[in-house]
């Protein structure tokens, strides 16, 4: 049922509250709150008064709210409108249902022909939902309940799927809840339970499994289903609810049990007793006998604590009309702490056969060194109040202080429940440690379902020395790689500027010398006569030199040759004229 311990009731209640945004939600909130026995909201009546139209769906919701909360629905012509809906030729089962229940809620008279119409319609539509609505409608009609309809309840129930110990219809939660509600109200009117115990139990298991869902609609239909199961007409079922999580310990020796109906309400006038409470090894944790308390809330205290899981079989005495739970065996776990005792930690050099380090851990963590010729032997026992115990998880954990990698070894217990870890580093270094040398912290991890919490004991710090130690491989493929900038080739070294300048001067020196010597020798240009060939020739020479300079400065060969071709012709002709005129002048002398 709704388990008070896990705050189910609060969770579900918090869903059915303001704000209300539609008639449907007002309806769901009001019905849910009435099922949960919570105070109803004042604003609902006002909302209904201002939002109800003369329509089937609206009147359905409004009439239900009116019945529960005592509101007034003041719209003219409701009775005639609803009866005309019933009288309509093509009225579906849904419409018939809504009209009939609305009229009944508002205490108006229903047309007497409707019972036949319902019987005919339900045979025609033949769906689970149609039957459920037919049951609900028939239950509010005056007169006796049609026998056919009551007999059909069990047949329709057989249409449900059974999975495990739960039973549900293919339409899901809504269909199953509406069916249960219909079956419950019809059974109540007929005066006999229409579903078998087993069916009821299975439907109940299904409905309860939906209490963890979210959504107003889901929770609403869950509540409708649970309400139907708790109404007393469908052989109510009960579930055992444990208040202290079925875990007992030194500080919490009492097992608290609540016997509640599917809605979480305790069963009055009930008693409970322990039939037997034995563990797997046969030891008892609760003495057989009656449990303290009453009216659905019971308690029993453990006589002696022993580690383990116990099956406590409970017996109940219930008032008449109540069905005992289908499962009266409760698993109770007793948790007790353990202590580490008789510890012996040894590091042995295998080649020399001598003990390097030995400690009983009383002085705190051991410092040790290990290499390939070392053997580690660690013995200890785990004790609780009743003696030596073996537990599920007893691991020795090595942690590399740099890489934080873990290496685990299992401690095995012998027949006397003494644990041993025997580690030979010659093989283990490569196989288990991956040949990664370094400093490792060693601790003992002890855990079990019957321990309140795992126990971690610091044992030692060991420096492992491995020749050819491997660095733990780092996966670089998924990271950014280092940046590369290209190193450009250095330009060749050049001589300092000074040397170039000096040699330039040296090179120009002979020219200077030439001019000086010429001056001394009396060179002159007295014979020069200004004439066209002279100008042409020297000018041409100058142009040729200029074109060489131009080519040097960056013009290409093609342009230069083109230019030179013209200039060369001119210079040649002029030169020839000049030289012949000079030769002629010489001859004349």
């Amino acid at each position: 049922g709704i388990n008070a311990e896990y705050g189910d009731r609060e969770k579900i209640s918090s869903v059915f509250t303001l704000p209300i945004d539609s008639l449907k939600s007002a309806y769901q909130v009001t019905v849910a709150r009435s099922i949960l026995q919570l105070p109803l909201l004042d604003s609902t009546c006002d909302f209904v008064a201002s939002n109800t139209q003369l329509a089937l769906a609206d009147l359905y919701f409004a009439s239900h709210i009116a019945k529960i909360q005592g509101c007034q629905v003041d719209i003219a012509g409701i009775e005639d409108y609803l009866n005309s809906e019933i009288a309509g030729e093509e009225a579906s089962m849904n419409s018939l249902f809504k009209a009939v229940t609305s009229l009944s809620n508002l205490e108006m008279t229903v047309d007497s022909s409707v019972a036949e119409k319902i019987a005919a319609k339900v045979k025609k539509e033949d769906t689970v939902m149609a039957y459920s609505l037919a049951y609900l409608a028939s239950a509010v009609l005056p007169g006796d309940v049609p026998k056919d309809l009551v007999d059909s309840i069990e047949d329709v129930a057989h249409r449900a799927d059974t999975i495990g110990n739960a039973m549900s219809f293919e339409g899901g939660l809504m269909e199953t809840s509406m069916f249960l509600k219909g079956a419950a109200v019809l059974s109540q009117k007929a005066g006999k339970a229409a579903l078998t115990d087993q069916m009821t139990q299975r439907f109940a298991n299904y409905i309860v499994s939906n209490k963890d869902k979210s959504g107003k609609s889901n929770l609403f239909y869950t509540l409708v289903g649970l309400d139907a199961l708790s109404s007393g007409s469908l052989v109510p079922t009960h579930l055992i609810v444990l208040d202290n999580s079925a875990v007992i310990s030194e500080s919490q020796r009492a097992l608290k049990v609540s016997l509640v109906n599917p809605l979480g309400i305790t069963v009055k006038d009930s008693t409970a007793k322990i039939v037997s409470a034995k563990g797997a090894a046969g030891q008892a944790i609760f003495a057989p006998g009656p449990m303290a308390g009453g009216d659905g809330v019971f308690e029993v205290s453990a006589s002696g604590l022993a580690r383990g899981v116990f099956s406590a079989e409970l017996g109940f005495e219930l008032p008449s009309g109540y069905l005992a739970p289908d499962n009266s065996v409760v698993k109770v776990k007793c948790v007790l702490p353990v202590e580490l005792k008789n510890a012996a930690f040894k590091l042995i050099d295998v080649d020399d056969n001598r003990v390097i380090t030995s400690s009983d851990l009383s002085g705190g963590m051991v410092q040790g060194k290990a290499d390939l010729s070392t053997r580690l032997i660690f013995d200890f026992t785990l004790l609780d109040q009743s003696g030596e115990v073996t537990l599920h998880q007893v691991f020795v954990r090595f942690t590399n202080t740099k890489t934080k990698q873990n290496v685990f070894f299992i401690a095995q217990a012998d027949l006397k429940k003494k644990y041993t870890v025997d580690l030979n580093f010659r093989s283990a270094a490569a196989k288990s440690f991956g040949s990664v040398a370094g400093e490792y912290t060693v601790d003992l991890v002890v855990g079990d379902a019957t321990l309140p919490q795992a126990m971690v004991v610091d044992v030692a710090t060991i420096s492992l020395d491995v020749p050819d130690s491997k660095e733990p491989a780092a996966d670089l493929s998924k990271q950014a790689k280092p940046e590369i900038t290209h190193l450009f080739r250095e330009p060749e070294k050049r001589p300092p500027q000074v040397i170039s300048t000096v040699f330039t001067a040296l090179v120009l020196l002979p020219g200077l010398v030439l001019l000086v010597v010429w001056a001394k020798l009396g060179a002159n240009v007295s014979n020069m006569q200004l004439s066209l060939p002279t100008i042409g020739f020297h000018g041409g020479l100058l142009a040729i030199i200029a074109s060489y300079i131009n080519f040097f400065l960056g013009v290409n060969m093609f342009t230069t040759v083109k230019y030179l071709a013209g200039v060369a012709v001119v210079t040649f002709l002029c030169g020839q004229r000049l030289l012949s005129s000079i030769a002629a002048a010489k001859k004349a002398k």
């Binding site: 549900s168 379902a449 090179v507 100058l542």
Partner: protein, 431 residues
Amino acid sequence: EKAIVLAVLLALASCRTLVILENVLTKESHSSFLASLATKDKDIVYKYATDSSLTIKKYGESLYNNIVILAPSVTAFGNGVIANDFLTFLDDGGNIVMSASSAVGDPVKEIAAEVGIEIDDEGTSVIDHMNYDVSDVGDHDLVVADSFISAPVIVGESPKPVLFKGVGMAADPDNSLVIDILRASSTAYSHAANQDILEYPLAIGSSLLLVAGMQARNNARIVIFGSHDMLSDKFYNADVKAQSAEGAPQAAGNAEFASSVVDWALRRNGDLRFSNVKHNKVGEAPSDAAYRITDEVEYSIVIEEMRNGNWEAFKGSDVQLEFVRIDPFVRAFLAPGSDGVFKVGFKVPDVYGVYQFKVDYNRVGFTHLYSSTQVSVRPFHHTEYERFIPSAYPYYASAFSMLGGLFIFSFVFLYHKDTSSDKSKAMKKAE
């Protein structure tokens, strides 16, 4: 004929998901998960695991883009579907989301084994005596887990602790395709709770995987949740508090975590694509001409990332460009810009040859992005070398002084009048 039309229509359809359910109860117990799935993908087909009409491939074409298998304990799929069919589906580019549990059946184990993930035997569970949830009154197999992989593209920005109850997995640490989405804590181990531990379990501590994923080289993804219950409504609405933790219980992060991981698995997150690769010399338009050594070049690429089913600009800060001629000569980070444009500029090395602009981006959770553009790099033309070097001035001087001398010499040579011989002649005449 009808089938051909159907196949054509399916090929045109954008995204189709097959959800394989274990039984009727799954639809209700996992209604939130299925509702969330329906918001991610409009076209979903639901089938039961033993359905005799279960088909994955028809006429050589996969019928679906994604398959979600919520049937951990199924012993055999209907219609003769075997584990290998799901492998072929992965090879064809389809994505798979699978859940396992302590009652895991052989088909699920086989599919996982084929992708490099080993699920522990049936009957084992992940047990953690330190980090079990406070509501666990039994074997401490209801575990609170928070060792998520640091990849927001898979698990979201800051995932909250999740509730887990199921079977553990292990993968070869050298397998670079397997992704450890959620690991167990250091005190956890995988074993049957009611049997003593006589030999080393499948995995202990952080080598034990609770949620494992694999991205194949064709970028198809598969995710395996070790706990079928962690996707259920009950766990979505639960509060978690580890036994060893301080503070008040908080709401379980299962819903957001599952939604994030499924978004990644269905390729709605984490896909990368590139477009618009441009490269040019600084100051010039892109051209096909070869680059010259020591040129300044700039390269840009547009990278987009799939986020919630839409392509958006990628904002990664560690995308690198390599300029490779067999070995990379230059490797630089691409600076992200607006609209997903990534740019960088650098100087072409002074070694000529055929190079490639390579962007090779491989990060956890993203598809592999690879772009390669080939360019040539030529040496200097004979006209591009340095000129007018000071060390050469003597040579320039010598050449030009010779030319100048020639010019002057031409005057002197042609027009020199020997005045001393005239003088001597005149003197001789006078005698």
